[in-house]
């Protein structure tokens, strides 16, 4: 079966809705399936469970929290990654805190899905953010699948999880297609995936950058053996998998579409430096500090982590 990333999200939602009557979806233009993941769900599951909302992100996110606190298992689809800034209060200050603050009385099984996170090629400053590190920092479970199979499996696990989870589907990963010969199944949160084994350098790549890292690994294969590790979940992070990889390679490069300062790459480097085996100073390739992506495509590209920089960083840690 040929499976696109968006179709994988669509399948995951449909399977979750079919399996558990508590699952429901909120969002803007989801009845029409504008963004893709909710295509045809309205016909199949009806307006009671596929709820087209007015443009009131704060209220419908709070509402989903209220529903999650009382037995539903809501999924919210956000049309733009920066809408997450509007509902940071709801996700971080309410949803994330209920379990602890109520002494374990309450759980908030809420999933936030952001199809098309990061640069969308020409959508400019306010539509091109990739704020996954903010949620990992806040302690909200954060998932960034790179492939259709992982998108399916991680979204299923996010929906089944008793805590809030934010799922970022990078715009640059949406065109990825796979020929799937295996059964699609939930993939546990917090487990990394080694996409390519290697002996010299571990490249940790997040989301769509996994595909860039694989291309660079292939290019460099004659000179350097690169291991490509996709954490898949940024919080909780699979530290044992990283430690095991560094036991093999002892060298680390992280490629991450966050802003440099306080991005997840910074955390990965810091943890490796504190606790893991490193033979050379590690490197990271990220967006610059405080990035606002400019409109013109060459400018947009200039600020995103790319193959050139990754290639240079891999060579640098080999010196």
């Amino acid at each position: 079966m040929r499976l696109s990333y968006t179709k994988a999200l669509n399948r995951a939602l449909a399977d979750a809705l079919a399996e558990d009557p508590a699952v429901c979806v909120f969002g803007e233009d989801i009845g029409a399936g504008l963004a893709g993941p909710t295509l045809n769900l309205l016909d199949r599951f009806g307006p009671g469970r596929i709820v087209d909302t007015p443009l009131s992100e704060q209220a419908f996110t709070s509402m989903a929290i209220g529903a999650a606190l009382t037995g539903r298992r809501p999924v919210i689809e956000f049309q733009i990654p920066s809408l997450l800034f509007l509902v940071f209060e709801q996700l971080v200050n309410q949803a994330h805190k209920f379990s602890l603050m109520t002494g374990g009385q309450a759980a908030v099984p809420l999933t936030c899905l952001v199809p098309g996170s990061g640069s969308r090629d020409g959508w400019a400053g306010q539509h091109s953010d990739h704020p996954y590190s903010l949620f990992a920092h806040a302690g909200v479970k954060t998932v960034v699948p790179a492939t259709p199979t992982d998108a399916y499996g991680l979204l299923r696990s996010a929906i089944a999880d008793p805590d809030p989870v934010v799922v970022f589907a990078p715009a640059a990963a949406l065109p990825v297609r796979e020929t799937v010969t295996w059964e699609l199944a939930p993939i546990p949160l917090g487990t990394a995936r080694i996409h390519r084994a290697g002996a010299d350098v571990t490249v940790v790549a997040v989301g769509h950058l996994v595909h860039e890292a694989l291309a660079v690994a292939e290019e460099l294969a004659p000179e350097i053996s690169v291991e490509v590790l996709d954490p898949r979940t940024l919080h909780p992070f699979d530290w044992p998998a990283l430690a095991a990889s560094l036991e093999r390679t002892g060298r680390l490069v992280v490629v991450d579409d966050s802003n440099r300062s306080c991005g997840i790459a910074a955390e990965i480097l810091a943890t490796a430096a504190e606790e893991m085996r490193l033979l050379a100073p590690p490197r990271r390739v990220t967006r610059p500090d405080g990035t606002v992506l400019p409109f013109a495509l060459p400018l947009d590209r200039a600020l995103q982590p790319g193959r050139h920089q990754l290639r240079d960083a891999v060579r640098a840690v080999m010196k």
Partner: protein, 358 residues
Amino acid sequence: MTGLPDLGTPAGRYRMLRLIRGFEELALGLVRSGAITGGIHPYIGQEAVAVGVCSALRPQDRITSTHRGHGHVLAKGAAPDRLLAELLGRTGGLNRGRGGSMHAADFSLGILGANGMVGAGGAIAVGAAWSARQAGEDRVAVAFFGDGALNQGVLLESLNLAAMWRLPVLFVCENNGYATTLPAATAVAGSATGRAAAFGIPAAEVDGMDTEAVRAATAEAVARAAAGEGPGFLECRTYRFEGHHTMERLMKLRYRTPEEITDWRGHDPLPRAAALLPPGLAAQLDASVTEQLAAAREFALASEHPSPEGALDHLYADGLRPRAGAAGTAGAAGVSAAAGAAGPVGVTESAAGTGARA
């Protein structure tokens, strides 16, 4: 006392007014003595709103509350001894000492929590109402909030959602005249009820010092909501006799006059409710409340302090343990941080599911 308090009779309602008043006085003393840290937002003066509203609710109905939430939580049936233990940060507290005054909750009674963010409970209650309708359950949700919350965008958004979807939710605005020091008269353009009416929500203004008036207005709105006729809105005109927060006692703020406070004290809801009772009954009820609160105090002060190892218990419902703040140490939360020692999803014994999940 076991079982839910009976608010179905004037005597039961008077007793609850007295219980809330007495509870707050007890808590004020414990704040002053330093036993309660962080202070409280006293509900004294506004008791008729909580009691009037909750007396018209059914056990299955749900509420969301505010930073000034003790009255709502007690009137919905929470045990005073466990609420007091919560204020004291003890393991016997409603939230095992993890929430304190501003987050007190009892999900087994439909109390979805006091909330520290002004206006936050409105849309959460709308979600609870939607959830109940989805599940085919006859439950109404009530959102309590203050006049200050009338200027929170999310609350106004939630009025629209509730009205559009005809949800069984009742918005109760406790207009006590001030948001901290800011007079409502200088902050709210138009009127509270006018805002609700603009969304097509039936809205009524009620004397919030009169338990029976609040009860009657609530009963009407709850009946409508339960019959599928959509949300309701009550503006209860009330007043807090104490400062905004106990901190205020230490300051000399002059945002309201002594005359204004004295005047409102003349509308105290307690004597008004007592006047409806046969002679002598109020005194009897007062005595039983005094006894109950003495027992609550004893229970709460005897309840254990939580141990620091459990500081991050319940952070995740699946029992996930976060890393400690310092590598290779046990950290304040006693969480092992040895690199690679624990799986990414280590589960503890004190995992989820320990409390009631409504």
